[in-house]
């Protein structure tokens, strides 16, 4: 048990040493949106020396979900025979012309669930309805969807479907690093993704791109410690993958969960907001389980999707600009009326900047 005084002292230790080790302007990227939230909620950005900049990467699944997906989900929601089940995160994400939240107000049956198994239970309880689960998330969440589909098959539940937007995080990281304009000096790797995948899928960060990377936990001190470890690597001119979250991240990950993904999904090209299409970055339900794929089993006609041309979510997600440099930020785009997904998700960089006061903050650094 860490006492409050120890917590502050440990934070001071890390901060002073980060300040000592880093001698020139340095950018680290936290890939995971849950890290982004934790960083803002604990006030880490203000505590770090000015020369150390933390930027948020493409690790918020809501933010990288394109309008096309939302429009499809909304079109399904308008089918009176369908109940849409979703994590709360997706409810307010804007599509091209509306959101699930607005569709619900117009009469669509949309339920927030905590677990895909809750969606499956809803299917059991409502045999006359088609239950579509909006399967959004990265490697952490995809095995849960896979296991739920396997359960549906075992129990012969035929009114449960998913609309998959599951994605592989590392593919976006690879796409990002292959862009020569990207300037990032090291990465905080997504701890809970690595719980499933293990370290191997991220080894390219150090091997091919010679960047330091640390697998980090989500407490404020976990994050500070990981930044400190990155600073040590930078100081020593190293580029390796280190695991600072060994209490749950095993080198090999969770093989049963990996197996669940490969049994149910196959890789496909997927659209990422801000990145466009990335080969083999998406997970689609494979032929053996096709009946559970909403797109395969339930016909739908959706509107033509387009993105707001002024929205710069893409550049924000790549870490090229910060939200205040987007012309819509705080003017047209607010948490109440988000123009882009980075504002709607609590994990989104724009939302975090807005909510936790970056740029309108008078309490000093």
């Amino acid at each position: 048990m860490i006492m409050p005084e120890e917590c502050k002292k440990a934070a001071e230790f890390f901060l002073q040493n980060i300040d000592r080790l880093i001698t020139k302007p340095t950018r680290f990227m936290e890939v995971c949106g849950t890290h982004t939230v934790s960083i803002f909620r604990s006030g880490i950005r203000q505590l770090l020396p000015e020369k150390v900049d933390l930027v948020s990467g493409p690790g918020c699944p809501v933010c990288v979900t394109p309008n096309d997906y939302m429009d499809t989900a909304i079109a399904y929601a308008k089918n009176s025979n369908v109940i849409i089940t979703t994590f709360g995160d997706m409810l307010k994400v804007p599509g091209t012309s509306t959101s699930l939240y607005e569709a619900r107000a117009e009469g669509a049956d949309i339920r927030i669930v905590y677990s895909p198994l809750d969606a499956l239970q809803l299917a059991i309880n409502n045999p006359a309805k088609k239950i579509i689960f909006l399967a959004v998330g990265f490697e952490t969440t995809a095995p849960l969807t896979a296991a739920t589909i396997q359960t549906a098959q075992k129990k012969q539940i035929n009114n449960f479907f998913i609309l998959s937007a599951h994605k592989w995080t590392y593919t976006a990281l690879d796409a990002l690093l292959s862009d020569p304009t990207i300037k990032v000096d090291g990465f905080l790797l997504p701890g809970h993704v690595c719980v499933i995948t293990g370290e191997a899928p991220f080894s390219f960060v150090s091997e091919r791109y010679a960047k330091p990377a640390v697998i980090a936990g989500f407490e404020a001190l976990d994050i500070l410690r990981a930044v400190y470890m990155l600073a040590l690597q930078v100081q020593n001119g190293q580029a390796k993958i280190e695991n600072a979250y060994k209490r749950v991240v095993r080198t090999e990950g969770n093989p049963i969960a990996q197996n669940a993904i490969s049994s149910v999904f196959s890789n496909t090209s997927a659209n990422w907001r801000g990145f466009g299409g990335i080969e083999n970055s998406g997970m689609t339900v494979n032929a053996a389980y096709a009946q559970y794929d909403a797109l395969h089993s339930i016909p739908v006609t959706k509107e033509n999707s387009r993105e707001n041309p002024a929205c710069r979510c893409g550049d924000v997600l790549k870490g090229n600009i910060n939200p205040t440099q987007c012309p819509l930020f705080k003017k047209i785009c607010t948490p109440e009326h988000p123009a882009g997904a980075c504002m709607v998700s609590i994990e989104g960089t724009c939302h975090a900047w807005y909510k936790y006061g970056q740029g309108r903050y008078h309490y000093g650094r």
């Binding site: 604990s42 006030g43 994590f87 807005y354």
Partner: protein, 347 residues
């Protein structure tokens, strides 16, 4: 309760469910009022059975109204009826008044179980007795099946303003203490846990409670407190933001000092909530000059609804209108006005 014949017949209500007839103004309506409402709420003012209640009040009064909708209607620590009485009592108390009389308007959905209605009405009666107020007038209407959510309740109330108290945001100045009356988020946790198949321990209940007697004691001990407000929808965060904006002061609160039960922290961790945004129904935030704090806390600690009261932060002149929270590692983050309802997240 117009047109009610108070002659005591032998009518016994045998209906098990609310029907449209209970709202049609005839025999069934009378049964509903005479057999359920009047016995539970009975007092000399209600017994007048006039178009409206005629009430003795001192010169200056406070007047408020609020409507109550909640799902589920029954929860650990209370039900919609208790909310409806305590909510209006607390709103009156926060203005620096002694709540006296409230009205009750109910909109019932066809098919609503009579036994549930009895439970709700009994709870309202108990809450009114605890708060020392009278339910003096009321009304019921019935809507068709699927046109309501079982029951909606509106209450309005009046209270006598206490002489010598001036409770207003403009009284808040920099360097004042901010006190909360106890653990934050219990009500929201009790309400929302069930929706997500989370099982709370029996010890974790909604904090729904009438605060008027506690407020009275505080105002006797320290009449010059600047402002107080109950932290309902939007939680403590909403109150702090309202006062910061209205008083033009900055606020810094300390994460380490926020009173939150471990179960509520667990609940927040699971669903991605922040306890400072969670609704309470029996908690208030008090702004007062630092010289009064120990007196206020001494009074609060002796009361069942204030025994866990503590100072969570103070006001400042550095950042007018802004609410900041000093985090466990010594950083500061902004606590902004909650944007709409709290939605659980997995991200």
């Amino acid at each position: 309760m117009r047109g009610i014949n108070m002659g005591k017949g032998d009518i016994t209500m045998e209906d098990k469910f609310i029907t449209m007839a209970h709202g049609a103004g005839g025999v069934k309506s009378r049964e509903l009022v005479e057999e359920i409402m009047v016995p539970a709420f009975d007092n000399e003012y209600l017994r007048q059975m006039h178009d409206g209640a005629k009430l003795p009040v001192k010169n200056n009064i406070a007047f408020t109204t609020d409507s109550y909708v909640v799902k589920p209607l029954f929860f650990n620590g209370g039900n919609i009826g208790k909310l409806a009485v305590c909510g209006t009592v607390n709103d009156l108390a926060m203005t620096g008044a002694v709540p006296k009389y409230i009205s009750v308007g109910m909109i019932l959905e066809e098919g609503f179980p009579i036994k549930d209605l009895r439970t709700i009405v009994d709870t309202m009666s108990q809450a009114a007795a605890e708060a020392g107020i009278y339910i003096v007038t009321g009304d019921t209407k019935v809507v068709n099946k699927n046109s309501g959510d079982g029951i909606f309740i509106n209450t309005a109330g009046v209270g006598n303003l206490i002489d010598g108290c001036d409770i207003a945001p403009r009284n808040v100045k920099p360097e004042m203490d901010i006190i909360v009356s106890g653990y934050l988020g219990d009500h929201a946790a009790a309400i929302m846990a069930l929706r997500h198949n989370l099982q709370l321990p029996d010890t974790l209940k909604s904090d729904c409670a009438p605060l008027n007697k506690l407020v009275y004691k505080i105002l006797q001990a320290a009449p010059k407190i600047a402002v107080m407000r109950d932290a309902t929808r939007g939680g403590a965060a909403a109150v702090l933001n309202e006062i910061a904006a209205q008083a033009g002061v900055g606020i810094i609160i300390d994460e380490d000092k926020l009173p939150v039960r471990k179960e509520v922290r667990g609940f927040c961790d699971i669903l991605g909530f922040d306890p400072i945004y969670l609704a309470n129904e029996g908690k208030m935030v008090i702004f007062a000059d630092k010289t009064y704090s120990s007196r206020i806390l001494a009074v609060m600690h002796k009361d069942v609804y204030g025994k866990n009261a503590c100072i969570i932060g103070s006001t400042n002149s550095i950042a007018p209108g802004e609410v900041g929270l000093r985090t466990a590692i010594g950083g500061i983050r902004i606590i902004d006005m909650p944007a709409g309802e709290q939605i659980p997240r997995i991200c």
